[in-house]
């Protein structure tokens, strides 16, 4: 299982890009943290999610 924004999800084996494609996140408004580091955007379709990974998708909203 992979923990994503606090929820345990059965998505091990998918790339980050494949996981994101199943969600409503706008790819232009996010940063992805994986096990304590921000993932480079160029690696979204390379990095495979693994059992035990902890992911946070930070989705930015407007206003400032």
């Amino acid at each position: 299982m992979v923990k994503i924004n606090g929820k345990e999800l059965n998505v091990a084996g998918k790339t980050i890009a494949e996981y994101l494609a199943t969600t409503n996140y706008d790819p232009k408004r996010i940063a992805v943290e994986r096990n304590g580091d921000i993932v480079f955007k160029s690696e979204y379709d390379e990095i495979l999610l693994q059992d035990g990974d902890s992911i946070e998708v930070v989705s930015f909203v407007g206003g400032g």
Binding site: R29, F60, G64
Partner: protein
């Protein structure tokens, strides 16, 4: 009647009395870049200049509009002036010995590294969600040695207590409630935007003082 301002020595002696000598020295030797000089950035700049941070790099391409004045640190007679020029003027009135560098440009993937090279800590203070994400991804990827303090979610009239600071990765902090989008909330209120700006400014000062969030 001419009113004299304090000398530099008097100024820093007063700051040292408030902050402690060691902390004040570290504030003075820090360089902080503020990306976006609106409701977040202008208020962050005021807090950091008052605290005696040595150098501020102020970046914004925009000029002041009447719709900015309800939450941003500008004056009615500055409408139409570039935000960089106006904020520099306003900051030097309250903190005459801060060093200020200004860049009246739009930050992009192409110029970000050159603009932010000299900063120890970078504040993301844009209003547009895509710009926020762009800067966060650029800084964390290309400038991993720098600290980054960003903001997301401070629109509307929600509780002040939902604005928080979280450490997302080792050098990336995020302030705000995370969800209040201006396009949904429909409003930006000075007090709530200032709360978020205060979280960012305080996080910057804590990083300089080597007091990190757990």
């Amino acid at each position: 009647m001419v009113k004299l301002i304090p000398t530099k020595e008097e100024w820093y002696r007063a700051l040292s009395e408030r902050h402690g000598k060691k902390t004040q020295k570290s504030f003075e030797s820090a360089t902080v870049a503020i990306c976006g000089l609106g409701g977040l950035g202008s208020n962050i700049a005021f807090a950091l200049a008052r605290a005696g941070v040595g150098k501020l790099i102020l970046i914004d391409f925009d000029s002041i509009d009447i719709t900015n004045l309800h939450r941003q640190q500008y004056k009615a007679n500055q409408i139409g002036t570039s935000k960089t020029d106006a904020l520099k003027e306003n900051l030097l009135e309250i903190a005459p010995y801060v060093t200020i560098e200004t860049h009246s440009v739009r930050i992009s993937e192409n110029n970000a590294e050159a603009l932010l090279e000299k900063a120890d800590i970078i504040c993301e203070a844009f209003d547009d969600a895509e710009s926020k994400a762009m800067l966060v991804n650029i800084v964390t990827e290309r400038m991993p040695e720098k600290y980054l303090v960003a903001a997301s979610g401070m629109a509307g009239m929600g509780s002040a207590n939902t604005i928080q600071t979280r450490r997302i990765s080792r050098r990336f902090y995020l302030c705000g409630d995370g969800t209040s989008d201006v396009s949904e909330a429909g409003s930006l209120v000075a007090s709530r935007v200032m709360l978020c700006a205060a979280h960012q400014a305080h996080t910057v000062l804590r990083i300089i003082a080597e007091q990190y969030e757990t």
